[in-house]
């Protein structure tokens, strides 16, 4: 006990970095580990892969918060899945919103002339919530999403190293 007390302040420095990407990284790591711990108790090994993937996705989205469209889309999906009572209602709303957005923004034929339509649609399929975005928005969201995916991959490799090395 006495050894742990002085250790606390020394080994736990106040978060020194103000870099937002590192903040997101920390949040993601905490959430993801938390989810992993939960998962160890409950899930059968057959479903473990899916749950870990979902946990990685969800913890990334919640680490980013509702500032970004892609994280909002993921969070919305999770919420719709978890809240069974409001499932139908929410999905209906969601569908309505996306349809309205897509009708408003994707009707521009110049987009399709300027940049090939195949790539644009592919990118829309890859970035969560990309169906209802304008092309400009889609690009900026993609940039942020790439950053976050990188962070995710790094953190996950770190964790994996630790699990496998032990």
């Amino acid at each position: 006990m006495t050894t742990t007390h002085p250790k606390n302040p020394t080994t736990h420095p106040k978060n020194p970095t103000t870099n937002p990407s590192s903040v997101i990284r920390t949040r993601f790591a905490v959430r993801f580990l938390h989810a992993m711990k939960k998962l160890n108790k409950k899930t059968p090994p057959s479903r473990r892969y899916h749950t870990i993937r979902a946990a990685a996705c969800a913890s990334m989205a919640s680490a980013v918060g509702p500032r970004r469209a892609w994280s909002r889309a993921i969070l919305r999906k999770i919420r719709a899945r978890t809240l069974h009572d409001h499932l139908i209602h929410k999905s209906r709303n969601h569908r309505l919103i996306t349809r309205r957005k897509s009708a408003g923004l994707r009707g521009n034929p110049r987009d399709q002339e300027e940049v090939g339509f195949r790539q644009e649609d592919d990118l829309r399929g890859l970035v969560p919530g990309g169906e209802g975005m304008g092309f400009c928005r889609l690009l900026s969201e993609t940039a942020h999403y790439i950053k976050c995916l990188r962070a995710q991959v790094q953190v996950m490799t770190n964790i994996l190293d630790h699990y496998s090395s032990s």
């Binding site: 006990m1 606390n8 790591a29 870990i52 993937r53 993609t142 490799t157 770190n158 699990y163």
Partner: protein, 320 residues
């Protein structure tokens, strides 16, 4: 022409009174056939006077009437009338000017000149109107465009570039897209070698896909590795050793990794303490209160560890 006169009569019953006189029937006749009507029509001052009176009367009622009647005096040919008729829809103010009527008494030559002047004025007026309309439209459009685009880049059209609001907006959009593309180019490795937006997009898509696949692969690996981590004692001990591999990883050239190492190290410090506690088989009452300030997940984790430790006496190490 004939159609015009008939419709005119129908519209203005006042004209039918005038029509009964020889003069106006003559005018109507002339309008349809005789181009040199003014030569023998204008010398008669009485008729003009009469017309003047009627016109003033009409002036009280309707401006349109005045105009058409006075113009009949100054008319040289039917083409002029059509022109004026066309004009009088647009510019009624000119016809209300009494000077014109006075001038019309002075003779046909003057009248023709006058009518030409009038025509010029009218056309000018029209042009000005059109110009004004254009300008107003422009202002409206620019106002519309600039009001939402206050935060954005202000674009000026260079020589030879289109200036209507659509193409301006389109140009702004294109600039923004290329800006974002540059940002993405810096992010995605191997994207700077590629030229052309389509190829760049291909690269971006490939990169995103590869990252997503990596995440899938990692989660698969974690799922396969996970059962070992049932042993919390082992797991947390391994996490105790965690900072060194982090340092090793941060020796990679990427600055992101360097920023990562202290950040990722943070959540494990409380785990480390808990681990020690666990190893000493301490119960929650004995936990230090100083740990409260650390990250939010800690309490939960500690609780779990404690629960685990309660179970551990019988079953924890059976997972080995």
């Amino acid at each position: 022409m004939a159609a015009f006169s008939s419709s005119y009569q129908q519209q203005h019953p006042f004209h039918q009174l005038l029509d009964s006189s020889d003069l106006l029937s003559a005018i109507d006749y002339k309008m349809s056939e005789d181009p040199n009507f003014s030569l023998y029509f204008y010398p008669t001052d009485d008729t003009l006077h009469c017309l003047d009176q009627t016109s003033t009367k009409v002036n009280n009622d309707q401006g349109t009437c005045v105009f058409s009647v006075t113009n009949k005096n100054s008319m040289d040919s039917s083409s002029v009338l059509t022109h004026n008729y066309y004009d009088h829809h647009h510019q009624l103010i000119i016809t209300k000017n009494p000077k014109k009527r006075r001038n019309s008494k002075q003779g046909s030559s003057v009248n023709s000149a006058q009518s030409k002047d009038m025509r010029e004025v009218m056309t000018k007026g029209k042009k000005q109107k059109k110009m004004k309309g254009c300008e107003e439209n422009k202002y409206c459009k620019e106002g519309k465009k600039e009001a939402p685009a206050a935060g954005y880049i202000h674009v000026r059209a260079r020589r030879g570039q289109a200036t209507d609001s659509h193409s301006l907006a389109e140009r702004v959009r294109r600039e923004r897209i290329s800006e974002r593309m540059k940002l993405l180019q810096a992010l995605v490795p191997g994207c700077d070698k590629v030229t052309g937006k389509a190829l760049m997009l291909d690269e971006i898509i490939n990169y995103v896909q590869s990252l997503q696949n990596q995440v899938e692969f990692l989660s698969m690996k974690l799922a396969s590795v996970n059962p070992i981590s049932y042993d919390f004692g082992m797991d947390l001990e391994s996490l105790m050793v965690r900072p060194p591999p982090d340092q090793n990883l941060s020796s990679l050239p990427s600055p992101l990794m360097q920023s990562c190492s202290p950040a990722t190290a943070n959540p494990y410090d409380p785990l480390l303490d808990n681990c020690l506690l666990f190893q000493q088989s301490q119960i929650s009452n004995a936990l230090p209160q100083g740990n409260r300030q650390v990250l939010w997940g800690v309490d939960d984790q500690r609780q779990k560890i404690i629960n685990q430790s309660k179970i551990s006496s019988s079953s924890l190490f059976s997972f080995h």
